[in-house]
């Protein structure tokens, strides 16, 4: 049984981020893979899972989520082989430190060597990146600027938008993946959903799965690369 855990949706679910969990679970289910989608509530214990999904959140809830995940031992779940896919504030939380309102830095979960400071202006708009030669389309809305450490691999290179710093977006540290494109980025990029799913299943190859999501992906790629505005 593949277990997908949507982490604290009451704190980390500002932008339809719950869509990422739904997409992963449905794409597994429609291929006949035994799967469960678990919502981890902030008032209970963190369930055991194969993939932990972290969404975006407002400033106060983001800090609370870090405290809860540190106490729940997310990093030891990762050491035990679990995968993490994080977006937006979830990305910031996984790093060594981040700032929200004001200039105070807060200690992050420290799973990845990444420092987020406040950027002079918010990044709000379409985010287009290249992930190992494949285009990823999404939307970002955040006020952070993230610098990843020397040994950390970025998730993608930025074509349009800011991502971490206008050059690269997110990071990939073993099975901990993160992007600034907020939820439901996996709905917009079915190939990426399948890449996450395959990784969570230990690199297993997946049967093709056609749907209207493929048409959506193609139309967004076209719209965001042939016009100057989204």
């Amino acid at each position: 049984m593949l277990s997908i855990v949507q982490v604290y949706p009451e704190l980390l679910g500002t932008y339809g981020d719950g869509g990422n969990g739904l997409v992963l679970a449905e794409r597994a289910r429609r291929r006949g893979i035994d799967v469960e989608l678990v919502r981890a509530g902030m008032d209970g214990e963190l369930p055991t899972g194969d993939v932990y999904l972290l969404g975006g959140g407002e400033d106060g809830p983001q800090r609370l989520a870090v405290a809860l995940l540190a106490a729940a031992g997310l990093s030891s779940r990762v050491d035990d082989g679990a995968m993490v896919f994080a977006v937006c504030a979830g990305l910031q939380m996984l790093g060594s430190s981040f700032s929200v309102q004001g200039d105070d830095q807060y200690v992050g979960l420290g799973l990845v060597d990444a420092v987020t400071t406040r950027a002079p202006v918010r990044a709000v708009g379409d985010l287009v990146t290249m992930v190992e030669g494949t285009m990823m389309v999404g939307f970002e809305n955040h006020g952070g600027e993230t610098r990843i450490g020397p040994g950390v691999e970025p998730f993608a290179t930025v074509v349009r938008g800011r991502g971490n710093d206008g050059v690269v977006d997110g990071f990939r540290a073993g099975r901990v993946w993160a992007t600034y494109a907020h939820g439901p980025v996996l709905a917009l990029n079915p190939w990426l959903a399948d890449a996450v799913l395959s990784e969570a299943l230990g690199g297993r190859e997946l049967a093709p799965l056609e749907s209207v999501a493929d048409r959506l992906y193609e139309s967004r790629c076209r719209a965001l690369t042939t016009r100057s505005t989204g």
Binding site: P9, E10, L11, G13, T14, Y15, G16, D17, G18, G19, L22, V23, E26, G41, M42, D43, E58, G60, P61, L64, V124, G125, D126, F139, N141, H182, G183, P184, A187, S211, V212, A213, R215, L216, S219, G230
Partner: protein, 401 residues
């Protein structure tokens, strides 16, 4: 003397510019004149509102409908910004158009402070707060904080606040105010208030009550619904609304509570309200592509959740989604809408972002159709739910019937 002359000129300018705008067919003629008037005399709104009795209506969802219900329920001549232009220019236009002493103004959430300073309202109606167009607007908690500051202004001191007791963000905003009538206004939307607006701890809930360990809690109710009966204080008022859905009964409850605060007879107010069957094109029957439809507007997840609950019993539903500036450029919020309730129905996907909608519906397990040409015409009324600019497009493409 000179001030009076300047205000007189500015008021006349509002009327003239709006008249020209309407005649030339270039605008609905509500905002442009107000903008000109405010440019000529920034204190124009204060001056126009002077000596009138003003009710302000604000919140994420239901503003236009509740404003229409208040206007209909109040007896006598009432002026209102009934085209939905809900910032100062629209307010100025509504007041310049009519000398009526009764005024009800739909007010944008972010403009509540400026509007209440200018109009010293008798009543302020706070409907609800939820996520809406997040790539444009401030985060929802920040709006609640701003409301809290607005309500501490001296111009709000004498106002009666009519507030939704079931929305923790509204309660957080209003609970320091001195004169609040709390209404139990039904909502199924709790995603924005899972954690406490004051301290971010998880909110605790039972079926009829919510509270937090920090002390923020559902206040004692003044008004609530008992089926089709609105209970306002000690008065029971049967509702016979021409508008569908439990959320419109909630809007009517808040409208009646506002009118009760200024001593309007509630029985007569409710019967006047029952004549409202269409609000700015919403809920009325129209013809599109030969099909008779009922147009419904929903701009955000809470609004969609409410509309989906109140759908008619026809198998087909049409939904139209755009993502222009006024809609917010990012349709991610489609994943916050409980579209799963449409399983077993067939949805025709319309609008510029119909593929985003169709993908969302595919993941929800709902039969979705995109671009397959015109469907056969049904002999029953089909509900069409559209977001902001998609709704405007449909209104233009359709005819009343």
């Amino acid at each position: 003397m000179w001030r009076a002359v300047r205000l007189g000129i500015a008021t006349q300018a509002v009327r003239t510019v709006n008249w020209v705008s309407q005649r030339s067919g270039r605008g609905s003629g509500t905002v442009i004149g107000g903008t000109v008037g405010l440019f000529l005399a920034p204190e124009l709104l204060t001056s126009l509102a002077n000596d009138r009795r003003v009710i302000l209506v604000t919140g994420t969802n239901g503003k236009t409908t509740t404003t229409a219900l208040v206007a209909a329920g109040w007896d006598g001549d009432v002026t209102s910004n009934d085209t939905g232009a809900n910032m100062p220019a629209g307010h100025v236009a509504a007041l310049a158009r009519s000398g009526a002493t009764r005024v009800v103004l739909e007010t944008d959430e972010a403009w509540l402070g400026a509007t209440l300073e200018a109009t010293s309202p008798a009543v302020i109606v706070l409907l609800n707060l939820s996520r809406d167009q997040l790539d444009r607007a401030s985060e929802v908690r920040q709006i609640a904080d701003r409301w809290r500051n607005f309500l501490a202004k001296p111009q709000a001191e004498d106002a009666v606040i009519v507030a939704n007791a079931l929305d923790p963000l509204v309660v957080y905003a209003a609970n320091e105010a001195s004169n609040v009538r709390w209404c139990a206004t039904p909502t199924s939307w709790t995603a924005d208030t899972m954690s406490c607006p004051r301290c971010t701890e998880p909110l605790l809930r039972t079926d009829d009550r919510w509270w937090c360990t920090c002390g923020l809690a559902q206040p004692t109710l003044n008004s609530y619904l008992d089926g089709d009966v609105a209970v306002v204080g000690s008065t029971r008022v049967p509702l016979a609304l021409g508008l569908p859905g439990v959320f419109n009964r909630g809007n009517a409850l808040m409208a009646l509570t506002a009118l009760d605060a200024i001593n309007v007879d509630l029985g007569r107010a409710a019967s006047r309200m029952s004549s409202v069957g269409e609000v700015a094109g919403r809920y009325g029957l129209r013809r599109v592509d030969g099909q008779v439809v009922r147009l419904l507007l929903a701009k955000n997840p809470a609004g969609f959740a409410a509309m989906l609950e109140g759908l008619g019993d026809v198998h087909d539903v049409w939904i139209s989604i755009n993502a222009r500036v006024a809609d917010g450029h990012d349709p991610s919020w489609l994943y916050d809408v409980p579209f799963e309730v449409l399983r077993g129905r067939r949805v025709r996907c319309l609008g510029e972002r119909r593929l985003d909608l169709a993908t969302r519906l595919w993941y929800a397990g709902v039969e979705a159709h995109v671009d397959e040409g015109r469907p056969a015409i049904e002999d029953r009324v089909i509900d069409v739910i559209a977001n902001y600019t998609a709704f405007s497009d449909l209104l233009k493409e359709s005819r009343p019937c």
